[in-house]
Amino acid sequence: MTFQEIVEHIKQSLAEEFVLSVNEQASPKCIEVPAEKLVELMAFLQSDDKLYFDSLSCITGLDNGPEAGTMEVIYNLYSIPFNLHLMVKVTLGREKPVIDSLCPLWKTADWHEREAYDMYGIHFNGHPDLRRILMPADWEGYPLRKDYEEQKYYHGVTVKY
């Protein structure tokens, strides 16, 4: 199944508005979906018998910086039986980045979403255990944001040296 066929299949089985735009320069090729439709689309991609994206390889959080004012969450899907790749992108506002969690569909989303929360402060609705994962629980700020400035002291130790 080619990328065009996948996009057509999504549009026919669900609705036109599930695919906002396509990016064929990306590798694997990428579709952008509206944030509120994400879980419905992913559930379809996972269970559809022509696509069967059973493996969620990676979730990437991304900050476009204060000028652009957006954040992105990028999902890399892979279908083991059909050897298909797909990248799914969601754009969020930078002020209040909130998106539904994919934990009910893929257990692997748990730690990836916790990492995105830890590094970017993106909130995942319905996540069973949204805590910081790599940074200490009492760390201030979200380190991978483009306008991040580290705190002066952490438990009496100078952070920047």
């Binding site: 890399n76 692997t108 730690w111 790599l134 940074m135 200490p136 380190p143 991978l144």
Partner: protein
């Protein structure tokens, strides 16, 4: 004066490693919370496990990670591509060559030069990557034996790993963190005489592997400790994103070297061993360990074939320059790119976003196999004994440098 504390000391600092997920008041009768790690030899590094125990039975496990967090992704956003490469060594420090290979491959594909890399370079990359895969599996097998009480395995595997590290030191100048595979080429060509010496090593290794398999892996005590323990169902494994020997131990023939066929792996003949449930249930700790041993044989096979090519079809010539294709300026055009490769632990992925204007990636995310594989620990250990928890951690084969990055 001598015993005076030298820094500002806060009493709260004493409490940062206390249990934080589970609370004492939620416990049922007879249950207790036990904190294992972060400084404990059987957790293979700085992993902390918060365990609820009912007697000796495990009710729930909550892993705490991040003690070895070195901000790989933040560094990567501030460095040119060729300078990020040494940082990838330090992620999975037991298999640095494999990390470099994956990273270099990704950047080469973004630049569109992946087909211009000389075949000799690719074969050398495969040889060093497979040597490093052997070394990584040796650490996994040896320390696993150590975890569950077999000391011999550790000495034997460390002895053979040392041979590999010497070989790689001869190639690159470093024992563990090589910076040998470059974007577009290699640091140097192989040293003169390496091919012969490496072939000698594979001849030496084959009987040693058989010996290891007979004495340790098929040992009755080892089998009793690992068979039917931590059984992983393949469906659950895929749902958790598990890859590598763990997934193959559950019986799924899924190896990215075969599936994606990157580098020169399609030209090489090798098998993908999968677990068969020989000593117990399919997908138990013994199966995962057995798959690792079988992969060692396959790696030896790959090395021998690649060496044959390196001494035959693509042999050393006077004017061969491994840096011929190394770009002066690495500036990929604007794109999103996800690359993946088979590490000893599983699928190592890099996500890049290049903005097309600078030599520095806008975003570089690494998807470490150990990070994802570790997340299943609660499912595997639940309902078992605390001794089985140690067996499960060892069979996952984590490297904390990659879990935390």
């Amino acid at each position: 004066m001598a015993n005076q504390v030298q820094y500002i000391f806060d009493d709260k600092n004493l409490r940062v490693s206390e249990p934080s997920v589970f609370e004492g008041r939620d416990l049922k009768r007879e249950e207790m919370i036990v904190n294992i790690g972060p400084q404990h030899p059987s957790t293979h590094g700085v992993l902390r496990l918060e365990v609820i125990l009912d007697g000796e039975e495990i009710v729930e496990v909550a892993p705490h990670i991040g003690y070895l967090h070195r901000c790989f992704e933040k560094h990567a956003e501030n460095l040119p591509y060729n300078q990020i490469l040494p940082f990838t060594d330090r992620m999975d420090y037991l298999a640095a060559m494999n990390n470099e290979h994956a990273f270099a491959m990704g950047v080469e594909r973004m630049l569109g030069i992946e087909n211009d890399i000389p075949k000799r370079v690719e074969y050398i990359r495969v040889v060093v990557a497979e040597l490093n895969r052997l070394a990584s599996h040796f650490v996994a097998l040896g320390s696993y034996g150590m975890d569950i009480g077999a000391v011999t395995a550790f000495f034997w595997t460390m002895r053979d790993r040392e041979h590999i590290l010497r070989l790689l030191e001869w190639v690159s100048g470093a024992r563990m963190l090589y910076n040998y595979v470059w974007v577009g080429g290699l640091f140097y060509d192989l040293p003169v005489g390496f091919e012969e010496r490496c072939l000698e090593f594979t001849q030496y290794l084959k009987p040693k592997l058989a010996e290891l398999e007979r004495v340790v892996i098929e040992n009755k005590i080892f089998v009793d400790r690992t068979a039917n323990v931590g059984v992983l169902d393949p469906g659950l494994a895929i749902n958790y994103g598990i890859t590598g020997p763990m997934l193959r131990g559950s019986g799924l023939k899924y190896d990215l070297r075969k599936v994606d066929g990157y580098s020169v792996y399609p030209e090489i003949d090798f098998d993908v061993p999968v677990g068969e449930g020989k000593m117990g249930t399919l997908g138990d700790c013994w199966d995962r360990t057995w798959v690792r041993v079988q992969e060692c044989y396959e790696s030896v096979k790959i090395i021998e074939q690649a060496l044959a090519k390196l001494t035959g079809e693509h042999k050393r010539t006077r004017d061969f320059d491994p840096r011929a294709m190394v770009p002066k300026k690495i500036r990929p055009k604007a794109q999103d790119f996800y690359v993946r490769a088979e590490n000893p632990k599983g699928e190592l992925g890099f996500f890049f976003r290049a903005d097309g204007r600078s030599d520095i990636p806008f975003r570089c995310k690494s998807r470490g196999p150990s990070f994802v594989n570790l997340s299943i620990i609660n499912e595997l250990a639940k309902g078992g004994l605390i001794a089985d928890l140690i067996a499960v951690i060892g069979s996952i084969d984590i490297v904390l440098g990659e879990v935390d990055r």
